[in-house]
């Protein structure tokens, strides 16, 4: 499902003294099957964009196309349910949305709302508990008895259980330990590849954006100021600084190294693995000479 935003503007609490413009003329095209990262400083409008992606917020101006459905400013749309089934959102701190008696029931909540039969929903939930690496015995436990990390996984399972075609992630790993963080991000990437999902990741982590995304969009003060592939985006450090963003660790390291060795590596290394490979190649070459 292609998703496109055209000239989308949004104001919170419109027509009250608390009115606050959050988005100005945002244009964004997310092709089907791509992994799009949206990065930006706190308060740049990332999360507001995200809530438009399944019509939880409707634009005050502009048009959003989600697959074949249009959400136009000021018009009612009857197909919202359909959109919400196809676009799954994992909100920030999704564990806050847990409520049911048992983990399984909570995971089944989403699919059953969309009319999936109970038995099938249960099967999906059991599979997801395994997929997310949760111990089997949690299935019949109350979600409130789990650890923070486990609750997060259950909540993510609750979104995945709807079998969305588009997965929207709002800082899905905030507050997790480094290992859990990597496990979950890798899992999302695996699902992205295996199921052909369109994935949209809103994040503060330049490393995650560099590692996983095909395309990156930068938000700044409610505008979408820059779009492109990661290598382009991270080649212009000055511009990133303007938007109060930083380079990923591996690229920072690469730049420092290039400066000290007075030598350029052939390409920009988006991940530590890529950097290690380039360095190994370089060292081997030097030894041969």
């Amino acid at each position: 499902m292609d998703i496109s935003l055209q000239q989308v503007s949004y104001a919170y609490a419109k027509d009250t003294p608390f009115e606050k413009r959050a988005l100005y003329d945002v244009d964004l095209l997310i092709p089907s099957g791509s992994y799009q990262a949206i990065i930006g400083h706190t308060g740049s409008g990332k999360s507001t964009v995200l809530q438009h992606l399944n019509a939880l917020l409707k634009p005050t101006e502009g048009v959003i196309r989600i697959g074949g459905t249009e959400v136009v400013a000021g018009k009612k749309n009857k197909k919202l349910r359909e959109i919400r089934q196809k676009v799954g959102i994992v909100f920030q701190f999704p564990e806050h949305q847990l409520f049911d008696e048992t983990v399984l029931k909570d995971i089944m909540f989403g699919p059953m709302n969309f009319g999936v039969p109970e038995e099938e929903a249960r099967q999906r939930a059991i599979e997801l508990v395994r997929l997310l690496g949760l111990p089997e015995e949690v299935m019949e436990k109350s979600p409130f008895d789990l650890s923070g990390g486990q609750m997060r996984r259950v909540a993510i399972a609750g979104v995945l259980a709807m079998n969305p075609e588009v997965l929207v992630l709002d800082e899905p790993t905030a507050g997790l330990d480094p290992r859990g963080r990597k496990e979950i991000m890798d899992l999302f990437y695996k699902l992205h590849i295996e199921k052909g999902l369109t994935t949209i990741l809103v994040t503060h982590s330049m490393e995650d954006a560099a590692r996983y995304a095909d395309r990156i969009a930068i938000m700044h003060n409610g505008r979408c100021v820059l779009q492109g592939i990661p290598k382009e985006i991270f080649s212009d450090e000055d511009r990133l600084m303007d938007y109060r963003l930083e380079l990923p660790q591996s690229i920072k390291f690469q730049k420092k190294l290039e400066e000290m060795m007075n030598k350029k590596l052939p390409s920009l290394c988006l991940t530590e693995e890529a950097l290690a490979e380039e360095l190994a190649r370089l060292l081997k070459k030097e030894r041969e000479i």
Binding site: P17, H96, Q97, G158
Partner: protein, 265 residues
């Protein structure tokens, strides 16, 4: 949706009403509620409306915003209006259709009650819209202070009040967030019959309660850590100052009462 709620919200500003001492405003609203009951005919209710309108103007709060925020109570107002319309049986009949009989007195009472309601709600809203929750509770604490003699835990009550006022917007935001998360999971709170809607509220209420209790616990810990010990000997950072304008404001209320008494039947 929830962002339009105005109860318990404070709009920063610098109007005459904003600058009044919170104690004056509290006393004013308290006695105004009584004064409203003096009115009993068209002239006196008219005077009340004009008076309220003047206060709205003085507070510099946009009328549109105020009316928009009153939507939640409109239902209540209409309900009481209808009650009076149908159940007051005095004066000449003005409508007689099948089993429905409407009397002139009923219509009149219905309108009067609605005006009374609206005026009261608007005035109390203006109180909270123009006064920070902190100064409201400070004022309340000072005004209730004499009751300490009868072992009324005044400081604790004021503290409870300020904490609940403080958390209204937070809980609203929280509600909004959880509602969106559940809507994204296909829960639908706005359509369906009564039973479906009730069922859809459970996934909203449980997380809300859980987080409210967590917040309460965190707050209690934070207060304890900072050595909070309650009211005895506690000094204030912000002092309320009574000025001439506060006395004058209260005097207008006396004038209003006198005028109303003069014009009532």
């Amino acid at each position: 949706m929830l962002e339009k709620m105005i109860f318990g919200r404070y709009i920063p500003g610098d109007s005459f009403i904003h600058r009044l001492d919170a104690r004056a405003k509290l006393i004013f609203v308290f006695f105004f509620i009584m004064v409203v009951f003096i009115a009993n005919n068209w002239i006196t209710y008219g005077i009340l409306l004009v008076f309220t309108f003047l206060i709205i103007k003085l507070s510099k709060i946009r009328l549109y915003f105020l009316i928009n925020g009153l939507k939640p109570v409109v239902f209540l107002i209409i309900f009481t209006f209808l009650l009076h319309l149908f159940f007051t049986r005095e004066g000449p009949i003005i409508l007689d259709w099948k089993f429905i009989k409407i009397y002139e007195e009923g219509l009149k009472q219905g309108i009067f009650i609605s005006i009374r309601f609206t005026v009261l709600v608007i005035l109390t809203s203006i109180l909270t819209l123009t006064t920070t929750p902190i100064s409201i509770t400070d004022a309340l604490e000072i005004l209730l202070n004499p009751l300490k003699k009868w072992k009324l835990p005044v400081h604790e009550l004021a503290l409870m009040m300020s904490i609940s006022l403080r958390f209204i917007p937070t809980l609203m935001d929280e509600t909004d967030k959880i509602m969106k998360a559940q809507m994204a999971r296909g829960s639908d709170m706005t359509t369906g019959n009564m039973k479906e809607r009730m069922n859809a509220i459970v996934p909203l209420l449980i997380p809300l309660f859980v987080s409210a209790f967590k917040r309460a616990e965190d707050l209690a810990t934070a207060m304890e850590v900072r050595g909070y010990r309650g009211g005895e000997g506690r000094t204030r950072y912000r002092k309320l100052e009574w000025a001439l304008r506060d006395t004058l404001t209260l005097l207008t209320l006396v004038v209003l009462a006198v005028i109303l008494v003069y014009f009532r039947n």
